[in-house]
Amino acid sequence: MSTSSTTKRGVMGAPAAPPPTSTVTLNINGVDTRLQLAPWTSLLDALREYADLTGTKKGCDHGQCGACTVLVNGKRVNSCLTLAVMQEGNEITTIEGLGTQEKLHPLQQAFIDHDAFQCGYCTPGQICSAVGLINEGKAHTEDEIRELMSGNLCRCGAYVGILNAVKEVVDSRSNEVKR
């Protein structure tokens, strides 16, 4: 038996106009950056498409993968789940603000040494997340690091390297991580 029905998707009638843009000042990596943004622009898109800071990655745009993790006032945040306009007056740190190729942050160096990535796409989010984790002061055991780094997916499966890289830096900064 063959049935046939018509279905429509979308919105009928005249659509609402997009919201107007305004000047938004974001403090990104210590620099006040003026951007012309509409209020519906996520912090992630503001960074990547307006501030040309493409180190922060888009992996799902739904807060499910952690690739877009940045630090806001030292705390890790999924930048796809927050609007740029909400972050005025806050200190935003992206991967570009942690270190440069010439002068790497200890976590960046540890990620290289432990080969804690393959394709590198989740890496900036992993590293920002690890900085946030250390700031939180919760990572005392390997299992805690594993658990608290579990909001950052890595499809290449570099988790062993990620654990060892984070552990090395945590070790060097505080008491030794217990197994």
């Binding site: 429509k8 997009p18 509409a38 040309d52 790497l104 080969d115 909001g151 499809r155």
Partner: protein
């Protein structure tokens, strides 16, 4: 004196590491070219039917919206199927985006909305009204069991199963012990972290540069050239970095078509990025039903082996992969019957996904082998060694090299296998049932024609290039190592470039053949360069190398020197400066030695040992330990190769316990098409993983002796875990992934 420029084999940090950890590495959607417009794809909500109308008008009135492209207004493009075929297109008619009003699968791209900003494009796409006429669809392979057919066309690399040998039916019936079971796994999607994207830069002369996410820039280039009638000069494709591939980037995906089409139409640069949901719309590891029959003789040798597979394909292409062939060559057996069929469904064509075919086949064969060993009262490792294949019975050829036996022994030793109590449910850790299981696998060692170019400049820097890819595999690093070693230069003085159609042609990155193929081309071009250098060195005043032939010299520690009298040397940098030339260039290609290779069966092998702990009350499974012993020829970089195998183990954990794209057959649509509901392992799911390389000397596979490492590590992992779950619980799960409901 130590030879510090001997880099091959050493665990070397990724040369692209600093770029990746600082965010400097640019992926396809990150080339912020001037005056960029943004395209957002609208996907079909129905699985089959017709598009009645695309109501573009209201959307076009939205300030900032530039265009709505659909089959109603897409420009006249190439007509013949061959123009839409890419290097790995299966037989049939490739899907043409925005071609006509037919809907062939759910989430089919129906329209592209282009706007000045991403936000406006996304908004406009979200409200674009499209009217469809829905027709009945078929998406359930369970209902197509009797409608399987032998593929007639296949695709490159596919081999029909070998004909039966011996008396597989009669011998199976006569066997001392027998098993026969069905094994099933659902569809899986590659889901690399980076979503597919193309930034097409439109140049004033009408040419374009497409920054695309692809595993083969040449494949993408020929695709858009043929469709849009562009010359190769007018269509440059660049992929410097790729945020994971796993096969998903083997075929040009529709965002490339969309982005290029819009850029050419609007005469403006356009970026199209797919959503995570749309990452489930262009190919997957097919839902596969497998049937295995095994029988053993009283001495534990295999009396008969039968393996049949049926998997889905689309209505428009015959996707094929080698699922069952491996079963005819992994173990010694004289009575073998292998079968392979496809069934058409209203889905998009499946797509090669890491170890395509083998990953699927090895699940069925290796769980069946475990069942057979148990039935015959044999240890699973001992059972495999009793049936060790000394030659490839499918091809009737000797192996070029094979140290699988050492993988079994060394893997078992490292794991502590001898302490295993063979009885299920016999090992415990508190409330946890402990299970130990093992399995193994085999993958092809392939070399394909590749070209490379080398430029040595007066400052002593070497640039080597080839249009291959680095999808996270480590290509940048191993090619740099090879070049540095063959020209005896410090690794810091060598740069490797890839992923650009302006560079010499290389094959798609897939099938584990890149190290063998491009690596040999890099070696060859460095030898060419070496010959040129020697010639120049011999022109130098009082050159100690005057009478030397190329074979008499070696390139080590920044010098060219006599092998037999290393003190007779010249510094490479001085050679160039003395020559008065600004640079030396060499370009060449490498082709496989077919004469040698045709006489052999060339494969990598592995053996995997896994420990699981299963909560007796809750049925939760944790993989607590895995040892993966891999024999894949020579290992070029212990660090990156280990990472590839570690990643493979994580993929195996995923296949065994988590990963499955679930279809709602009422809608013909994947339900869990997002990262929250499509489960893959997180850091907390991964414990103690160990990789062991059993190195092989192999002069047949290629001059470097490498077999490739991208796929082999995955094989056997899922089966080893499923076998461990049986050992822990006494429950045999034959439908993966093993979820709690299947254990309670």
């Amino acid at each position: 004196m130590s030879q510090y420029t001997n880099y091959i084999g050493k665990p070397t940090n990724r040369v692209d590491g600093p770029a990746k950890v600082t965010g400097a590495a640019k992926y396809a959607a990150e080339f912020n070219v001037p005056n960029l417009a943004y395209g957002v794809v609208v996907s079909s909500p129905i699985a089959k039917g017709k598009i009645i109308k695309v109501y573009s008008k209201p959307v076009l009135k939205i300030p900032g919206v530039l265009a709505v492209f659909s089959h109603e207004n897409v420009p006249n493009l190439a007509w013949f199927d061959r123009n839409y075929k890419d290097d790995v297109a299966p037989g049939g008619s490739p899907f043409r985006p925005l071609h006509d009003n037919e809907v062939k699968f759910s989430q089919q791209p129906i329209a592209l909305v282009v706007a000045d900003t991403f936000e406006v494009a996304r908004y406009a796409a979200s409200i674009l009204e499209i009217e469809y006429e829905e027709e009945d669809h078929e998406t359930d392979i369970e209902l197509k069991r009797t409608e399987g057919f032998m593929p007639g066309r296949g695709k490159s690399g596919w081999m029909p199963p070998p004909p039966p040998r011996g008396k597989p039916d009669k011998e199976w019936k006569k066997a001392a012990h027998r098993i026969e079971h069905e094994y099933i796994h659902g569809a899986q999607h590659h889901n690399p972290m980076e979503m597919f994207a193309t930034t097409t830069e439109y140049h004033p002369d009408g040419s374009i540069t497409a920054y695309d996410k692809t595993q083969g820039v040449y494949n993408a280039q020929q695709y858009i050239s043929k469709i849009f009638g562009l010359s190769k000069k007018q269509a440059r494709v660049v992929t410097e970095y790729m945020g994971g591939g796993f096969g998903s980037g083997l075929r040009p995906q529709y965002q490339l078509f969309m982005s290029v089409m819009a850029a050419l139409e609007l005469k403006r640069s356009v970026r199209v990025t797919l959503t995570r949901q749309q990452m489930f719309s262009f190919g997957h590891r097919p839902y596969t039903l497998q049937y295995v029959k095994l029988g053993t003789n009283p001495d534990g040798t295999l009396a008969a082996l039968q393996h049949h597979a049926l998997h889905e394909t689309s209505r428009f292409e015959e996707y094929t992969e080698n699922v069952v062939n491996w079963s005819g060559m992994l173990y010694q057996c004289d009575n073998v019957k292998l079968g392979y069929q496809l069934a058409e469904l209203d889905v998009y064509t499946p797509l090669d996904m890491r170890a395509p075919g083998a990953a699927t086949g090895s699940i069925a064969l290796e769980i069946a082998m475990d069942e057979m060993a148990f039935e015959a009262g044999l240890d699973p490792v001992d059972f495999r060694i009793r049936n060790y294949a000394e030659t490839d019975q499918n091809m009737k050829k000797p192996f070029s090299s094979k140290r699988l036996r050492d993988c079994y022994h060394q893997g078992a030793a490292k794991f502590g296998w001898e302490k295993r109590n063979p009885r299920p449910r016999s090992m415990r850790d508190g409330n946890m049932l402990v299970g130990w299981g093992m399995a193994g696998g085999v993958w092809d060692a392939t070399q394909k024609k590749s070209a490379a170019k080398a430029t040595l400049t007066a400052d002593g820097r070497l640039e080597v290039s080839s249009a291959t890819s680095d999808i996270g595999t480590g290509t940048y690093t191993i090619m740099t190592q090879i070049a540095a070693q063959y020209l005896g230069l410090p690794i810091e003085a060598v740069t490797f470039k890839l992923g650009d159609t302006d560079l010499p042609e290389a094959p798609l990155e897939g099938g584990s053949w890149t190290a063998a193929s491009v690596g040999t081309a890099v070696k060859n071009v460095c030898e060419e360069m070496g010959k040129k250098l020697l010639k120049q060195a011999q022109k130098m005043k009082g050159s100690p190398l005057k009478k030397a032939k190329f074979d008499d010299v070696e390139f080590v520690n920044g010098q060219i020197r006599l092998r037999l009298d290393p003190d007779q040397a010249v510094v490479i940098r001085d050679v160039l400066q003395a020559s008065g030339k600004e640079k030396l260039e060499a370009e060449t290609s490498a082709t496989p030695n077919m004469l040698k290779q045709m006489q052999h069966s060339m494969h990598s092998h592995n053996a995997v040992f896994a420990e699981v702990k299963v909560d007796e009350d809750l049925g939760t499974v944790h993989v607590t330990r895995v040892v993966n012993a891999v024999a894949a020829g020579r290992i070029l970089n212990l660090k990156t190769a280990r990472s590839q195998v570690l990643g493979s183990i994580v993929w195996g954990i995923s296949m065994a316990l988590m990963e499955e794209t679930i279809m709602d057959h009422k809608f013909g649509r994947y339900m869990n098409h997002n990262y929250a509901e499509y489960h893959i392992p997180v850091n907390a799911d991964v414990r103690d993983l160990q990789v062991l390389f059993v190195e092989e000397e192999d002069e047949v596979v290629n001059p470097l002796g490498v077999k490739g490492i991208g796929e082999i590590g995955l094989l056997g992992v899922a089966a080893a875990i499923a076998n461990a779950v049986f050992h822990a619980t006494g429950k045999r799960v034959r439908t993966l992934p093993v979820m709690i409901d299947k254990l309670l």
